[in-house]
Symmetry: C2
Subunit: 463 residues, 2 copies
């Protein structure tokens, strides 16, 4: 059907070996749960990563969820909470025994605790903060003071750093003596006496160099830092664009206050993707575990916008009631022109929204891209004009009708190409997320142009 069908998506072959939570395992766990067989349940859950257990909790019904958490008891890990869908966290925290919750949270890194508590209600947030030791709580509260979706929220406050004059041997000795190195770190950050970052060295380079080599001799090229105020989506973009593994975060005095690692950036990138795809489809934020009422509330506004634009299009049709009543074939064919325009517009729009997000569409090439989309619309328009002209003649025996629908098709597909790029570019210029609002504008344009061109031409040519 579509020409690149040959390259069938590999991700639909659920490879059991990559994803540990197979359907069979899930059944076995639920079966053990039904018989209150904790030993069997633990055996089945043993190979599961915290992310798998979180997925499982999201997939089962609320009743099983509560029973499973209770039966699982003190083995409940803080990482499961971190991995859990935000919509479910409060429910799960409410079910956990306070002592289990305290044990679960205590082992998390500060960035994970921040991620965990930032969207919780006051009570649930307090319950978690109260379980932390003083130093950890201070670090978490400091992070929470930074704006939402900022590098300050994303970073981990525990940074492995050393003075810039150190040799490789100093770094190795320091790390070997240190008894609380972070779980995951990839660089030693070198700082000057005022704690400003001067560069960083990969652990690989430290291990590969002689002990008497100066660390400043083996600095990584392309060193970058992020301001605590930087948006997390810019951070994720930079990690992806520049193949970064970790980068220090600095405060307004350029002092190193934290570090962001690639796994966090990858997570943000994935969330940004989700947001883009959902916004393009007019779906607000939400998850599969949301209740009906939450989902209705998230989707109603977009459908409301669509209703307004559909009524606008209907008003265009209403101008031609007299024409339609004389020639009902027009009512039969008019949705085709609008539908083709809407689809062609969505194609151009999606390419443009994605290119804006990846910064491939800029002032330097915007006119070339618009020209291309218009030419593509013209070419596609001519192809489908010929086809629809023939359909018009064969179906309704009217060459004039064929001419009308063919002309309207060309006009609408050209406008679709123009609006498909123009609308998101303009929205971005005025500071509105193109993914959020472009769809409604573009289909409004193609509906109105489609109906107006088709019915208007018909009124002129056919009568």
């Amino acid at each position: 059907m579509i020409d690149d069908n040959k390259e069938l998506h590999p991700e639909i072959e659920y490879a059991e070996d990559v994803y540990s939570l197979s359907a069979r395992r899930l059944s076995a766990i639920l079966f053990a749960l039904d018989r209150d067989d904790r030993d069997e349940m633990m055996v089945q859950m043993e190979p599961l990563h915290a992310a798998d257990i979180a997925d499982m909790l999201e997939q089962i019904n609320p009743n099983d969820r509560r029973r499973l958490i209770t039966l699982y008891g003190a083995d409940f890990d803080g990482d499961i909470l971190s991995e859990l869908d935000e919509g479910l966290r409060e429910e799960v925290i409410g079910v956990l025994h306070p002592s289990v919750l305290a044990g679960a949270v205590r082992d998390l890194e500060s960035d994970d605790v921040v991620d965990l508590v930032e969207d919780l209600e006051g009570d649930a947030q307090e319950a978690i903060l109260a379980t932390l030791e003083d130093a950890d709580r201070v670090a978490v509260e400091k992070s929470l003071a930074y704006p939402e979706f900022s590098a300050g929220r994303l970073m981990q406050s525990h940074v492995v750093k050393g003075p810039e004059h150190w040799l490789v041997g100093d770094a190795i000795d320091y790390m070997r003596r240190s008894d609380d190195l972070p779980e995951d770190f990839y660089h030693m950050v070198l700082v000057d006496p005022r704690m400003r970052a001067v560069g960083h060295v990969t652990l690989g380079k430290i291990l590969g160099a002689p002990r008497d080599q100066k660390l400043t001799d083996i600095l990584e090229p392309g060193f970058r830092t992020f301001s605590v105020e930087e948006s997390e989506s810019n951070v994720a973009y930079a990690f992806n664009q520049y193949h970064m593994i970790s980068a220090p975060v600095v405060d307004e005095h350029e002092r190193v206050v934290g570090v962001i690692t690639i796994d966090d950036a990858m997570n943000v990138l994935d969330e940004e993707h989700e947001e883009d795809i959902m916004r393009l489809a007019g779906v607000g934020e939400g998850s599969l575990a949301d209740k009906v009422i939450e989902t209705v509330r998230a989707r109603l506004p977009w459908l409301g916008v669509n209703l307004l634009t559909a009524i606008l299009a209907s008003m265009v049709i209403a101008q031609f009631e007299a024409t339609i009543s004389q020639f009902v074939a027009l009512a039969v064919l008019m949705p085709i022109v609008a539908s083709m325009g809407g689809n062609a517009g969505t194609q151009s729009l999606t390419v443009a929204v994605r290119a804006i997000a990846t910064r491939d569409l800029t002032g330097a090439n915007v006119w070339r891209v618009i020209r291309r989309e218009v030419l593509v619309g013209l070419a596609n328009g001519i192809v489908f004009a010929v086809i629809m002209g023939i359909v018009g003649v064969v179906w309704f025996g009217s060459p004039a009708l064929g001419l009308v629908i063919a002309t309207a098709m060309v006009i609408n597909l050209v406008i679709a190409g123009l609006a498909g790029v123009g609308v998101p570019v303009l929205l971005e210029k005025v500071g509105v997320d193109p993914a959020l609002a472009s769809g409604a504008f573009v289909t409004t344009v193609t509906d109105i142009v489609g109906f107006f061109a088709f019915l208007g031409l018909a009124a002129v040519v056919l009568f």
Copy 2:
């Protein structure tokens, strides 16, 4: 307009400090190019990462591109080729002087060379392979023998490994003596005498542990390997799901033959997302730099499918020509019902396609999700039924017409919820990528049901 507008997308604030290729810098480079001022051009390009230079080459026109590459000369870096959009690589390779090309490719890691040459035509591929030293060429040719989009293609063949009985001190001494450690590596892989992976140790743990500690005592938990045959999208999924940084790739005898690092996995995740978003919009693979004819060819098939479904919907309307000719208001209002159904269906569909890709929608919760989407459709349907009922009465003064459009709206939104989840789930079951084909099916269903319900009810109720 939309209720989550408050959280304006941060990525549209192009932060110059995160992305080095500013509009101003690009102008300065083009200005220098126009005056053949190589020195000034090099000064302006100095802070740019290879990824930025590739972006720049994609954004400027073909003529400037050729002149810039020629003026840039021997400084042209292999990483620029790797970062370049696939559609442009052959063009750029054709412009590069063979000696520059050889120099550019020589410094790349084997996985980058594979990525570079795998989609090139025979001649261009040969030109690059010929520049490699024998050992490197063998490694690249070995990778190319694995299936496209497999772990074997994605991996780097250079692995840092050691025997399982080693102590921390052995590992440090080995790495310090080694004079060709990979540019980026994060673990030492431990192998048994048959070269099978038994686990891996992070460099951080090696640096933090005493020299006489056994490496097997500080193995990372949750160690995973990938088969060379594993699909790259499964690999990317596992990296993201399990927060992996690097993982060995093993052949059919479980022997370690390569390693995949998170930056490659992040890249695949990004490409998968691009593919999903483009497929949902019916846009084949392609890039902004594609020519008009290539773009037309990529988009025509999908528009063709849409034309067929639009004609199907028109045939439904044609069944009611007599009804419409008696009451033209029906022609005015009918697109509203179809449009609302199409939008609601797209909402459900997008949520379902995304949930299937992230494996959140499985056999365990599919019925619960379908039930929820149907209930959401019912609730939204009732809201818009009331609104449209009132519009029908006010606009056309006909309570019967209001009742008809209200009822049709409820029916279509319920069907939209059902089809929106049902279609992608069924497509996935029969092995078709839901992102590729669901849209056409779902809007066909909502168009046909929308027109049929509205016009059919009108024929019964109004006459």
